[in-house]
Amino acid sequence: MTMRQHFGLGCTLLGAIGFATTASAAEQITFVSQGGAYQAAQTVAILDPSAKKLGITINQDSIPDAWPAIKTQVGSGKPIWDVVDTPTGYCLRGGEQGLMEKLDFSKIPNAAAMPEAYRSPYSVSYEFYSSVLAYSQKTFPKDVPNSWVDFWDVKKFPGRRALRNHPIATLEAALMADGVAPDKLYPLDVDRAFKKLEEIKPHITVWWTSGAQSAQLLNDGEVDMEMAWNGRVSAVAKEGAKVAFTYNQGVLQSTSLCILKGAPNLDTAVKFLNEAVDPVHQANLPLNIDYGPGNPKAFETNVIKPERAAQLPSEPANASKQALMSYAWWSSPAGEAAEKRWASFMQK
């Protein structure tokens, strides 16, 4: 995921030095996220308060795509990182490949209280974002596209379209366009999804690869509607572009926290994991960035005002309109096969 790259390295270093001088406790962990405004928001909302409460030092690192580094670190037998915030699919795949610690939820009560769909034996949901249908309000001032069925309807909603150049969430959208209910998607009917995608393919102007690109397409009016991440669309709208999106039939996706196998500070890491998904810390996250808390209990803390909650992807009413991505399916052999099939679909 390239949507939150480029965290100022300076910030990371300053943060680390700051902690090193103030907290004298011997306990410490190394926490890794994806950088950018996203990691800065977490630092304020979750990392600093957790470190203070537990009396530990949190050394931060950031990397846009943690997966190759996780493989290399655990493969070497001496990982440097403890806790990683990464797309949930990597936590699951890592768990299956023996790269992640199995979690003992009796030591992580905050996570144990979360709905089962929000955790796995190796991971806990940390924050939510959504792949939504976004559109130009210039092109569609009144009658707006409101579902993937509308997106596929090129007669009723003429205009240029973009989708992500990736099967994840795109196959889900295709199936919803074909009439499958958001809560009945898994296991995905891959053949049916690709057949439906063939139908819309001639009308897709761009298959975007990065979040920045999807924002640019919408901002410049290069496309009239597209699938995009909610945070990207709201950022473009904030800058004054006439764009909007709907959570209806969005695909709710998450990043999760997981602990590397053989992490140098395992016990502290588990304590941190519990603290990181504490409802109040979690509720502070959306006050700093357009992502929803991973722990739904955050909405019961009164920290998030109702108007703000209504904008967030994982707010219960919004969540109920969406499909909750099954990372378990995507990391299963069927999911991996679907991912491999994508390239040949794109070339034809």
């Binding site: 491999k340 390239a343 070339q347």
Partner: protein, 270 residues
């Protein structure tokens, strides 16, 4: 002599030979010896199609760069020194801008709401915007722009070494300027043509950012398969097999070219 080049050789050994060797090793060894990665490259359609597309794009880019670059080099060669320096600086100027910025600049020019489409619509030449980017066309345009200096500079270097007397001799024997060009100048500049074409073609084979940003997702070049394979198969071997096949094709091309012309000339020496 050996002592003088040894630091360079050491750097090449450490930074190029060892990593490439390690990558090549990974492609055939993963929990034991395996040809699985190569079996995939040679049997699955997507690889064949990407290699074909990559070679097509590289050929097109080379041809266009030659057509555009030859007159520029010719002009720079025939004008007085001051002018030729100016022309060559203009050719080299884009080198100071990153490839990424240039790709975005092309996007601003070519996209639906871009400068060119807006202008053509203003003139009423077109009613609907043209699809100039997010396809192979946009990729080729931007790639030609980036690689043009690699065509012009070897051409210019070769043309500089063609003695001007030869053209005068042709003229004194009654040949028209165009005949002198075709019979004397052009054949003598051919080594430069071959050198420029080889450089551009080989560099184009490995292009990544430009097709990624301007290809609209449909222009899947080999380099993009390399990065995709790291993601998809979670091991470097699957990706390095693709890279090794591409590297071998480049070596074959260099070998073929070297039968017609010495490699030193391709790389801008003599």
């Amino acid at each position: 002599m050996l002592a003088l080049v040894s630091p360079a050789l050491l750097v090449i050994l450490l930074l190029i030979v060892l990593p490439v060797g390690w990558l090549a090793w990974q492609s055939i060894y993963h929990d034991g010896f395996t040809l699985e990665n190569y079996r995939r490259v040679f049997t699955e359609d997507i690889y064949w199609r990407s290699f074909a597309l990559t070679f097509e794009i590289s050929l097109a880019v080379t041809a266009i760069a030659l057509l555009l670059g030859y007159p520029v080099a010719y002009l720079a060669n025939s004008l007085p020194k001051g002018w030729s320096i100016l022309i060559l600086s203009l050719v080299v100027l884009p080198f100071w801008t990153s490839v990424l910025v240039r790709a975005y600049a092309w996007l601003a020019l070519l996209q639906r709401t871009g400068v060119i489409n807006q202008f053509l619509r203003y003139l009423d030449v077109i009613s609907e915007p043209l699809a100039l980017v997010h396809n192979t066309f946009g990729t080729v345009v931007a790639t030609v722009h980036i690689l043009l200096p690699f065509m012009v500079l070897p051409l210019y270097a070769t043309m500089q070494k063609i003695p001007g007397d030869l053209m005068q001799a042709g003229a004194s024997l009654g040949a028209s300027p165009s005949l002198t060009f075709v019979r004397v100048f052009l054949p003598l500049s051919l080594p430069g043509v071959l050198a420029g074409c080889t450089m551009v073609f080989v560099l184009c084979l490995g292009f990544y950012i430009t097709p990624e940003l301007l290809g609209g997702g449909r222009t899947v070049m080999v380099s993009m398969l390399v990065s995709r394979n790291v993601e998809l198969y979670n091991q470097f071997g699957a990706a390095s097999a693709v890279a090794v096949v591409l590297l071998l094709s480049v070596l074959v091309i260099f070998f073929a070219v070297s039968r017609f012309i010495s490699l030193e000339r391709v790389l801008g020496q003599k």
